[in-house]
Structures are given as C-alpha cells and as structure tokens.
Amino acid sequence: MAFPARYVYALTGGLAPLMPSIDTSQLKRRPPSDEKITWQWLPFTNSARKDNLQLYHWVRVVNGVPPTGDYSFAKYNKSVDIVRYTDEEYEKYLTDPTWTKEETDQLFDLCERFDLRFIIIADRFSLSRTVEELKDRYYSVSRAILLARAPSSGDVSGHPLVKEPYNVSQEIDRKRALSMVLSQTKQQERKDAEVLAEAKRITESRMAARGVEESTLHVASNAGPEMAETATNVDGTVSPSSNAQLASVAVAPSSSVMAENASTLASLRMLRVYLRTYALEQMVQAASSTAGLRTIKRVEQILQDLGVNLKPRVPTKAVCAEHLELRKEILTLLNLQKQLQYKEAEGSSFRDGSYTEMPGTPKRSHSHRDQDGTFVPDSMSFGGERAGRRDQKRKGPGRLSEAPSSPAHKRPRKLKASDL
C-alpha cells in the first residue's frame, strides 16, 4: 500500500478516509520533456505608456523562442470616455451663470486626466468648489451635449445620463444622512435598533391581519432630521413619539394604547381563525407597545416573582383575560413609579440642591420579596417613608431634562461618592 502507511489506518479506526487522498505524483507536474525552458533577461515595452520607455525583466523562453504579445498588464490601463464639447457647442448649449468657460474647460481637463475621480478633481480645482457642484456641472454639461448631438431625443432616452440626471440637493442630503449614520454612537445605534424592532413587531402583527399592503415605518434617528414617515394604518395610532425616548412615559393607558387594543381585536377578527395563545401574544404586544425593552423585562421579572407563568399553562379565555389585565396593571405600576421618581427628583433639586441628605445605599430599584412573604416593591413608597430619597440614576443638577433612564445604565447602580 502506498502512503499513508498501514499503521495510520489502524489509528483512524480501520476505515478508509472520507476524502480521497491526493495523488502525490500529480503534485510535481513536470513539463513535457521535449521542451527546453530557459529564463532570459530581456527588454520590453508597454503599449499603455505614451513614452518609449524600455525596461528589462525576466522572461520564460521556450525552446529559444521568446513569448510574443504586448506587456501582460497593458490591458488594465482603462480610462473613462469623457465627452468633449467644441467651443461652438459651448456657446449654444452649455453656458451657465455660475460657471465660466475657463472653469468648465478646466473641469473637463481634470475629469479626463483623473478618470472622474471627483475627490481628486475637487482637490486640484483652482477655485474652491464642492464635489457636488463639480459633479453637477460635469453631468449636466455631458447630458446637454448628449441631447444636443442626438438625432432625436428618443435615441438617447435610454442613456443613464438622460434617464437619471444628477440631483445635487438629493446627493447632499444623502451624504449628510450617511455621515450621520456612520457617526452614530453605540448608544444611539442601540436605541434605534430597539425602536425599529418594536415598530417591526407592530407592523407585522398588523400585516398578519390585513395581509394587504406593506407599511413601512421609518423612525427619526436621535441624532437629527432623518426622513420620518409614519405607517399608514387604519387607526393612525402609531405616533412618531413612539420613537421611544424612554423618558416619554405614559401614565394611565393613554388613548393610543386603547386604540392599539381595538385595532388588535379587529385584526384578530380578520384572521377568521386563530389560537388563543396567539391572540394573547398580540394583545400583550399591543399593551406593551409604548414600553421599552427594559420595562418589558421588568414586567416579566415581576410576573415570575409572583409565581405566574409568563405564558399561561391553561390559556382559556378567562385565564388570558386575567393574565392580560395583570400585565397591564404591572405596566401601569411601573409607569407610575417612573413618573414618581422624576417628580421627586425635580422637586428635590429645586428645593435644596444639596446632597448632604443622602440615605443609606439605595436598594435595587426592581421589586423583591419582603421577609414575611408579602410582595413589596421597594421603589414604591408613596407614603414618603424614605423622606430624602433621591433618584439614584441622576448624575447632577442641570441634567434633569435628560432621560435619567439612559441605556448606558443597564442595571441601576449604587450611588457612589464620585457621583457628587
């Protein structure tokens, strides 16, 4: 047996290898022996060059005959076909109040020289013009010449220059939007992703029922004025403010949540048949649509602490109704808590602005069980038992207008001396 040796088969368990072994004799492909190969140091020219520069390189010569043909890399010397206008054409079609002929000539020279690499052209252009301006001038001139020279407008209607003319303002906007997206911080990215995921969930549940048109929901980014279109839907309940700044808290079920409920019911009815568990999922989603991801997780944590199944084990109509109500009550509770925190924070900073009254280490803000088993969420202290309690997430005065529940704090941290 050839390589590998027999003992290797024993190592692999006696089975033949799955891959066919490489036939090693093929690895060293020897050239047919009737050819005589030499390597020679020979001169060559390059058709891509305009001068007659002659350089030397090693050449593989077969049987004393050097290879023929052009330098092998000459074919890569491609350039762009720029349309050049005559002076007459310029006078007739191409004059423009904001461009002189000299400038336009210079532009076209640079375009030809630099193969339409506009960044470089902008750099070399004697007057300071933006890349968009240069592109605009170049493309409108080329377009005008094309149209002027064409025997009929129908001939060139398919040409990309004619079909899709360069649009300066659109380009400026596009680049600005792009740079905004690229310069988004991780924070903003995460927020956007959250909101988009929620929007997707909402539209998907709507689409399932309607099953007709697509609705696209673009949400304004936190950084700036991106295009923000709201979904077109029957109720028009998805408000742009659901681009959830977690600070925008709804206290009681706002009218938008009620309408969400109604529209979910309507879409369920349109399904003609559905599973109770599916219906519950939809209703829960609708009820939580104004809540951020973190709030939803807290609701689920509370449910678990209460010993309630996150998904009911026996989802009858009554059980589902109770489950939904419970979730809504928890949501309302959390919202109220948040509102309370903000109000307390605002109130106290206006009142005294000093931090000397800090209580002991604040406990974690999500609920926990008390010793005697009754369920006491410790952040609920309407009665003012913790008199000087501050919002532990607040950093300092003057920052109250910002959302204290910034995603940077995934879990509420204990107040440190360094915060003051």
Partner: protein, 219 residues
C-alpha cells in the same frame, strides 16, 4: 331568480358578530422507549396528536389534520382524514412537527398551524429508562372562530367539544340542525383512547386562582 335553497344558504352563511366559538384542544406527544427492541434508528415509538381538551370528538370541526414530519421520514407529510387526529411512528430523533388543521367548509376556509416539538427523552436523565412509563408533553390551547357563520353555529351549538360564550341579550338561537346518528360513524373522541391514561389534566381553575392572587397582592 333565487331559489329557496339559495336564501337558506345565505342565512346559514351569515356571520354572527359578537359570538365567538372556541374549541379547547390539547396537542402533543407520548413516547415510549423500546428497550430491548430498540435499534439504532428506532429507539422510541411515539404518537403525536391533537385531541379535544375533554376528549370530545374534534371531527365536528376539523376535517383533516396534516402532520409534517422531519424530512428523514418516508413520506414526511402525513394526512389524517378522520378523528382521532393522531400519528404514530418510531424513531430516535426529536424535531419540530408542524400540524396543519383543515376545517369543514362551513367552519373556516383557512387552515390553522400548530407547532410541537417532539420529545422522546425525559428531562431527568438520571433515572432508569423504562419501557412502561412514557414521556408525555402536551400543550393546551383553544381554536377561536371570532365570527362564525350561522350554519356552523347551528350545527355545533350542542356539541360537547365546542365552547360557546354567554350569548348576547336578545340573541335568538338558530334552529338546531339534527345531528347525524353518532353510532353510525366511527368514534372520533378520545375518551377511551388506549393512551388516555397518560393524558394530562388542564384545569383553568388553578391558573385563575394563581392570577387572582397575584392581582390582589398588596402593592
């Protein structure tokens, strides 16, 4: 020119708003280890099924059930044309089974999908394997028809598999349709099913209590 039968059909096709018909079901699988008889490809025999939650005959509503098995099975698309809607097989692997329920024409023209993950091996791997004690995984759910047609309603209003809500005030029941002589048809209910001793009990009472207690917790 409309015939009396057409008018009757129109009446029967009329949708009843505010009346919801729901069918409580339980679906899942029961699997037995084959013990000595097991081989490499068939270590368990299992049955996947959809049954009425109180073991009533689902054939009153479901026309056929299609179980889509893993592609490694021969003819992985198994159609069951009559109740009880179940499928038995032997194998070694756990996978997701898609169950598509098709309803009678007066019930609904759209099918409904259920998904069940076939479970063969017990959660607690430490215990000895037994050929007598099966692994049972069941899920409770309810099929809801939000706007049933009058004809459907009339046909099923007194059937034990079907749950009708409290009817709205002033609602006049359509005349009940005489039911086929049940003894003539093959039994579709699962009350005396050979596997019925393993069926789980789903009582909403416990869960309602749990939820009510939770809602009353002193916040």
């Amino acid at each position: 020119m409309s015939k009396p039968e057409d008018t009757e059909k129109k009446i029967l096709n009329k949708k009843l708003k505010d009346v919801e018909i729901s069918i409580p079901i339980v679906y899942g699988n029961i699997s037995f280890w084959l013990g000595k008889k097991a081989n490499e490809y068939q270590s368990h025999k299992w049955t996947v099924y959809v049954r009425g939650a109180t073991n009533e005959d689902l054939g009153v509503v479901i026309k056929r059930a299609v179980f889509q098995l893993h592609s490694s099975f021969n003819n992985p698309t198994r159609v069951v044309e009559s109740p009880p809607f179940e499928l038995s097989e032997a194998g070694w692997g756990e996978f997701e089974i898609a169950i598509t329920l098709y309803f009678h024409s007066d019930v609904c023209d759209k099918p409904l999908n259920l998904y069940h993950h076939l479970k063969l091996y017990p959660e607690d791997e430490s215990g000895p394997m037994s050929t007598k004690k099966p692994v049972v995984v069941e899920s409770y759910d309810e099929i809801v028809f939000p706007e049933p047609s009058e004809g459907f309603f009339a046909r099923v209003q007194s059937h034990p598999a079907v749950t009708l809500p409290r009817l709205p005030a002033g609602f006049t029941l359509p005349p009940p349709v005489p039911v086929e002589d049940a003894s003539k048809r093959k039994r579709g209910d699962t009350k005396d099913h050979p596997l019925s001793q393993w069926f789980m009990n789903f009582s909403e009472a416990d869960e309602l209590l749990q939820l009510a207690a939770a809602r009353q917790q002193s916040w």
